[in-house]
Assembly symmetry: C2
Homo-oligomer: 432 residues x 2
């Protein structure tokens, strides 16, 4: 019989145990962090009506959608992000919920784009948003969640660069460029990639020579966030709710002793029309080239396409794949140990009941333990333990006494009761 080639689609991936364990570990830390701030999980379908996902349509994502007719002839598509489904979700369930509603959602999304290096067609987003309130404290909390997430992952050297679209817009209006704001934003958004001169030449076409200079002056950070804030307030026509909000946020960060993590950077604009208030991106100081690993901002109304309920919100999104790549580069991965802490060796199949009893006991003490299922020669069982990163071998003797072998030091600890063996394993694990 001819074999079918076990191939997978370009831009899609299998995750082998070590990679998947690490993904689960990181995802677990993120979930715990989000929950520690009172964010609650939701989930939505992978497949939705195209009409719902398209919204008003016209974006880049439209062409990238996996869109088709299902067996019932419905026009359906795979979700391409978690924001549109969240908007639809809020419209559908608003009356069963409460505000402020703080949700997180970690799930796969799908985009059929040209898959370059590091670009996947199936990838995981970790979104967290607070909707139903428009205030500085909700903005600040999202920034706290971002910072705390990286801290708990051991990625401590981060810089969250933030700005405010309202101040930017006021500056543009003072230049008579209010109607060109989308074009200006797109031009400015490229500054980290293309450099100032390229941006200046784009801006010159939109805003003229002096307008371009004024905008470039606006987006250039000063020596401190305070000075930057003072400058952009003045270029925007003075203080207002937007500058006061940034001022409050920086003040609170200082009061909590975490001011160092945040920098006011008016060149952060987040290209999208969608944002109306604070906007931010997160950079890893040790590998800036990887780009922003977590970004977002405040929007005026989440679900206006689906409901007349007004839902202002603020949120952020972590790209899990980029984060994991960054952590690998930073050496923040966990050791290769996946699977069980202890392997009960099988030397005589007549003793399998005893082997399973020994493993059961270790599990009842909260450890991971498995039995090698057949009496293969020891070398093969050792190779299995090594391949899985198993740390201890248990050789079950008679009368519930065992020999424990520390597979890293090759030391044998003989004639132990099962509780003694469990205690020793725990003690040594706590030292790792």
């Amino acid at each position: 019989m001819a074999l079918i080639e076990p191939k997978i689609l370009k831009g899609f991936r299998d995750f082998l145990p070590q990679a998947e364990s690490e993904r689960k570990r990181v995802q677990g830390i993120l979930e715990k962090t989000f929950e520690s701030f009172g964010f609650v999980p939701i989930d939505t379908p992978v497949l939705e009506y195209t009409e719902v996902l398209l919204g008003k349509g016209g974006g880049e994502t439209d062409k990238q959608m996996y869109r088709f007719r299902d067996n019932g002839g419905r026009d359906v598509a795979l979700r391409f992000d978690l924001t549109v489904p969240f908007a639809r979700f809020m419209a559908a369930h608003f009356h069963d919920l409460y505000v402020p509603f703080k949700r997180y959602h970690i799930a796969k999304v799908f985009r059929g784009e040209n898959s370059q290096r590091g670009r996947y067609r199936e990838f995981t987003q970790c979104d967290f948003d607070t909707v139903g309130v428009d205030c500085a404290s909700a903005d600040f909390e999202i920034l706290l969640v971002m910072r705390e997430s990286f801290m708990r992952l051991g990625v401590t050297n981060i810089e969250i660069r933030l700005s405010h679209r309202g101040i930017f817009n006021r500056m543009l209006e003072s230049l008579g460029l209010g109607s060109s704001s989308a074009a200006v934003l797109r031009a400015v958004d490229k500054i980290k990639k293309t450099g100032e001169e390229e941006v200046r030449s784009s801006l010159r076409e939109i805003a003229g020579e002096s307008g371009a200079s004024r905008i470039l002056d606006f987006i250039r950070p000063e020596a401190s966030s305070e000075e930057t804030l003072k400058k952009i307030a003045s270029l925007a026509g003075g203080e207002a709710e937007d500058t006061l909000r940034l001022s409050a946020i920086f003040g609170w960060a200082g009061a909590l002793g975490i001011g160092d993590s945040f920098t006011l950077d008016p060149s952060i604009t987040r290209g999208l029309d969608y944002y109306t208030g604070i906007v931010y991106e997160t950079f890893l100081s040790d590998i800036p080239a990887i780009g922003s690993v977590c970004s977002g901002g405040r929007y005026n109304d989440l679900a206006s396409l689906y409901t007349r309920e007004r839902l202002p919100g603020v949120g952020s999104s972590i790209g899990l794949d980029r984060l994991l790549a960054a952590m690998e580069e930073l050496g923040k991965k966990t050791p290769a140990s996946s699977g069980a802490a202890a392997l009960v060796f099988c030397e005589d199949e007549a003793l399998l009941a005893d082997y399973h009893k020994a493993a059961s006991h270790l599990r009842s003490e909260g450890l991971c333990a498995e039995v090698y299922p057949e009496a293969h020669k020891q070398a093969r069982q050792f190779a299995y333990a090594e391949k899985k990163g198993i740390l201890f071998g248990v050789f079950a003797l008679q009368a519930e006494r065992v020999t424990l072998r520390d597979l890293s030091t090759r030391e044998n600890l003989e004639n132990l009761s099962l509780p003694e063996a469990a205690a020793l394993i725990k003690k040594r694990l706590s030292r790792v």
Copy 2:
């Protein structure tokens, strides 16, 4: 502007925070259980080549597939189970892995079937399999994992009914019915639904009057598993590797003191051709009508469509949706508390830095804590806490002294330092 109706596809679901929290809790317990036996996680794409998913094709699932052409013209489909992707995965990665390879995979699958009550088009399967070995100990371990999973979920009153397809086949061959085995299996598989007389009449057409009686005698359990085993061994032509394997499994279960969870039931056949050895289903004694919540068996060769490597295996699958429905019926859900343990009330926005400091401190002690973001009136903040199941209110006063309010007893504990407040919350939480 006309609104878009925020509707979702039939057979697909949103999960609101309480439901999603419970799903995550149960999934977490399953993952921990699987890992405690040395099973490791993998993941595969939601979307695959149709050719790969169809395999040799011809099954019911073919018609149910969400199949379409992607933007590159490829014939692709959403996975309809986790077994076919696992087979493809093993063929693709065999040389990077080891045997026995024990994997678990918890993920969504998609079937466009008629969605009756309780039938979803998007649902979650929890699969665990051991491949690369064919021995009693591996079979037994899968049964242990099944039992332990339910125990750790608090679902203790279970009955795992098992049998062996090899013994069944020997019995059929002794009746000269070896070539009709698929038809016989399909008929027998219906006995729990339709009753004996219906099955007898189906069998009569395949096997004649005496054949039907012989088969019905074979599948009727005796008073004890020992007696049943003796009977089926004799009807199948005597003891062989298959009966010895069942005997070993029941012996080990007895030695581990968990024999009560397992019953030999020769009417368990698991309709599918796929299975060749032990087969089993799991019933909840308190709600038998819900049917099997976890089933599976041993198969001869997992990945023969994709590789010449022979991969015998044994595995099991838990339907998460049915399990959650069962747990709800059994009252095994966790209390409604989702989200934060403590809400710092906002009474004066000038004090927001202090509120955030208080919440940060509680989080640094491992608690969940959030700040109400605006100085709304107390009643509204209390309503928010109640809606979210938050247990404690924190009223931040001056100089880092707070009042703690137990929202269930309405008791106030005044003038506490933050560490004192954290200690009190932990103490009271441990009592819940």
